[in-house]
């Protein structure tokens, strides 16, 4: 199915990426090219096939439910753009 500029705008919103209105037609065009390429998958008979979840047949390992680290606030804040009074600071979320 063809993607119009409205759909492109909705996807950009979902992905939390600001796209200027003037760039939406080009973006929609690229989506259509890529999705057109992906459409080939419809030629494959996949009836009875389970979607692959893991490349190696393995059960995900579990670890002991225990604290393994912590108490490293300085390391965690070291790369933060805005850190104040023990918190990551962001614009006001709730009015």
């Amino acid at each position: 199915m063809a993607i119009d500029t409205e759909t492109a705008a909705r996807v950009a919103k979902l992905a939390r990426i600001k796209v200027e209105d003037s760039d939406l037609p080009a973006l929609a065009g690229e989506f259509n090219a890529i999705l057109g390429f992906i459409e080939q998958l419809n030629e494959v008979d996949v009836s009875g096939i389970e979607p692959m979840t893991s490349v190696t047949p393995m059960r995900l390992k579990r670890r002991v439910d225990a604290v393994t680290d912590g108490d490293q606030q300085d390391k965690i804040r070291a790369n933060a753009p805005d850190f104040r009074e023990g918190f990551f600071a962001v614009p006001k979320v709730v009015e």
Binding site: I17, L41, E43, V44, V46, T56, K61, N79, A80, V90
Partner: protein
């Protein structure tokens, strides 16, 4: 002594152990080569002080070494590290503006394994942004230039591990780390006349490597020889409790398995890899490689991998889907870039502006494609269908291996290195076709190695790819050694930079 930087890992190791050279001399030779290589733009963060400290420590360790207590495998050997690996206290940006200034407080497991094996880190290497690209043109640091040059064009070293492959080919380091999600080790290795191996999914820990597509990403080495690939891969591998997909299987001594004897091995030639419009040169290279392996005593068999054609479209659903999820963490809150906000902007504007400023065009495109294929109403049609096709692609390989095939021979790439900027106006799909022979291996989780196999008519290197059974990197590298010996590729780029 001159040209120490041109040594292989094995050659330098032997000279270090024999005390013919020191790690400081070797490291200084590499640092001098790096200083003179800015026009290649391979090393984007140089760490000479760290390197020399590590080299001095390695020399002390080597001085104490004895037969009873040998120095570790990579002791004193200078390496380059792809910018995708988090390295403690050293910028690690995945070649993205969104991680500008990011200095991890921790070391990735693979780079830690290399340091534990005594390696010296020379610095961080250029790559495509978030490993998304096949030409190293999506990097925030600018293009890496291939040391191979045949006319006045500047050529791509391939991608995404373009800085790694270029640096090894130009003798700026003895070897380098790479990562491979759809061909990002093997394609640049082929474009630069180097050896690159992607091991079985789960061999190398992914912990501390910036994630692109978690079910496909694997680290591996780019080196000057197959022997070096065996030495370095062994040091990189191993179980890691911090990566739940990392394997607990023991890591063999890959170098000890290198005999070069492939008599009686069955090597498959997949007919589906003979694509329409394949250049004659690639076809001839492939045929010659097969003939040489047959001369070495291997039995060549025609095989079929019927779903090959659907690997790229499946990849371009699965990889962007996983990327859109993995890259959701870049939100301008905990680390990395945050956009300057206008009065009245709320948290959504902060996310949207930060990600628009921080991600380049190709990354944005893939994140949005991934968002689309995972969105309500399309999840089954795209994502689940792609995962079913992926299961069929893996089944193709399982069937061939169950029939007794030991390895598969195919070209690594559909062409030699192309000019930087030549694909600028092509649609993104043209660039994606670079991965047509490599991407199947990631989807099936198999090991694959690219070995330089000759020069094209222009004088540019071409690679052949060997694909192995899961967890049989030892056999695969042995087969690669036989191919390397039979081909006898020894050309180097002429220094112009």
């Amino acid at each position: 002594m001159s040209d120490l930087n041109a040594l292989t890992l094995a050659g330098a190791r032997d000279k270090l152990v024999a005390k013919e050279i020191t790690s400081v001399e070797l490291t200084e030779a590499c640092l001098a080569a790096i200083e003179g290589s800015d026009s290649l733009n391979a090393f984007v963060h140089k760490t000479p002080e760290i390197a020399l400290d590590q080299a001095r420590a390695a020399d002390q360790r080597l001085a104490k070494g004895s037969q009873q207590d040998p120095a570790p495998a990579l002791c004193g050997l200078p390496l380059g590290i792809k910018d995708l690996f988090c390295t403690k206290g050293v910028p690690s940006q995945a070649a993205s503006a969104i991680l500008k200034g990011f200095k991890p407080e921790y070391e990735s497991t693979v780079s830690q394994n290399l340091l534990d094996a005594g390696a010296v880190m020379l610095g961080k290497l250029n790559m495509d942004e978030f490993a998304m690209g096949s030409s190293n043109e999506t990097s925030v640091y600018g293009d890496t230039v291939n040391p191979w040059k045949v006319d006045d064009r500047r050529l791509t070293p391939g991608g995404s591990s373009g800085g790694s492959a270029g640096a090894v080919a130009a003798d700026l380091c003895l070897a380098a780390t790479g990562t491979d999600t759809g061909g990002s080790i093997r394609q640049p290795a082929a474009f630069t006349g180097t050896v690159g191996i992607k091991p079985t999914y789960g061999r190398c820990s992914r912990w501390g490597i910036v994630a692109f597509a978690s079910s496909l990403d694997q680290a591996g080495p780019i080196t000057k020889s197959v022997r070096d690939a065996a030495i370095m891969l062994e040091a990189m591998c191993g179980h890691d409790p911090k990566d739940s997909t990392s394997s607990e299987l023991p890591v063999p001594n890959f170098e000890a398995l290198l005999t070069g004897d492939i008599r009686g091995q069955k090597i498959g030639i997949p007919k589906e890899y003979r694509m329409d419009g394949m250049p004659d040169e690639i076809e001839a290279l492939w045929r010659d490689g097969a003939a040489k392996l047959a001369d070495a005593g291997a039995e060549m068999v025609d095989i079929s991998l019927p779903h090959t054609k659907y690997a790229l479209p499946a990849y371009y659903v699965i990889a962007p889907a996983e990327a859109s999820s993995n890259l959701a963490r870049y939100d301008g809150v905990r680390y990395g870039h945050r956009a300057t906000l206008d009065a009245g902007d709320g948290i959504t504007e902060m996310y949207e502006k930060t990600r628009a400023e921080g991600f380049g065009a190709e990354v944005q495109r893939r994140v949005m494609v991934g968002t689309y294929v995972l969105s309500a109403g399309f999840y089954d049609a795209y994502y689940n269908r792609a995962r079913k096709v992926r299961a069929l692609i893996k089944q193709d390989f399982d069937t061939v291996f169950a029939a007794g095939v030991d390895a598969i021979l195919a070209p690594t790439t559909p062409s030699a290195a192309f000019g930087l900027g030549e694909m600028q106006n092509a649609d993104p799909l043209q660039m994606y076709l670079n991965d047509v022979f490599t991407v199947t291996v990631n989807l099936a989780g198999l090991p694959g190695v690219s070995v330089p196999a000759g020069l094209d008519a222009q004088g540019l290197p071409l690679g052949l790819q060997l694909i192995g059974r899961p967890w049989e990197e030892g056999d695969l590298l042995n087969c690669a050694l036989a191919l390397e010996r039979a081909v006898g590729f020894s050309q180097k780029p002429n220094k112009w930079w």
